[in-house]
């Protein structure tokens, strides 16, 4: 299936891009993120990273569907 990936802040700088459309068989954001890491050497996992799917906060083991937009958020630091 095809999904769109968006990288934010430090993740965007590490991946060298803000968004990409990928062909994947990943069923969860966690598996998808690992696939992305295999393409971008500088993209590091980070334990308090967050993830959203289609502008809703999601879990790393949520289900991804065809055409979804998956947003990878490095550790947030508002305020």
């Amino acid at each position: 299936m095809q999904v769109t990936v968006r990288y934010f802040a430090a993740f965007r700088e590490a991946a060298g891009r803000e968004t990409e459309t990928v062909e994947t068989r990943a069923c969860t954001p966690r598996v998808l993120f690992d696939e992305c890491r295999s393409r971008y050497a500088e993209l590091q996992a980070w334990e308090s990273s967050l993830v959203a799917i289609n502008d809703e906060m999601a879990r790393w083991d949520s289900e991804i569907g065809e055409g979804d937009e998956v947003l990878f958020f490095p550790p947030v630091a508002g305020g």
Binding site: A9, L50, P74, G78
Partner: protein
Amino acid sequence: MKRFSVTTRPIDLDLFRGQLTDPRCGAYVQFEGWIRDHNEGQAVLRLEYEVYEPLAVKEGETILSEATKRFGILRAAAVHRAGLMELGEAAVVVGVASPHRAEAFDACRYVIDQLKVRLPIWKKEHYASGKTEWVNCRRCAEHG
């Protein structure tokens, strides 16, 4: 006026506070997050906030609703800066008005605590040394 908003301009504190006045309320608590000149030993010149606004606004509204229900306050609002900021400016402001002060303090504290960990907002510090760093993300930054 939306209770939670994001702005690229300096926050107008009079306007912000004005929206929260309420004759039923005897207590008002306001929190402001200011840009400090140091962080972990490095001199900070300025800050940059990246905000993913669609989700930040949605989550910010959710947090304000939670605080309203949980503490029984009458009014709450918050605003967060996006983009480049100078020292001494307010990066975030939270205001809570309530009949009595105990719940105004508790609710204001709850809102800022939650905003800091749940909003898709990232802070990049610009140091006097010329370096920049994403706060909370040392390892990412080394590679970024």
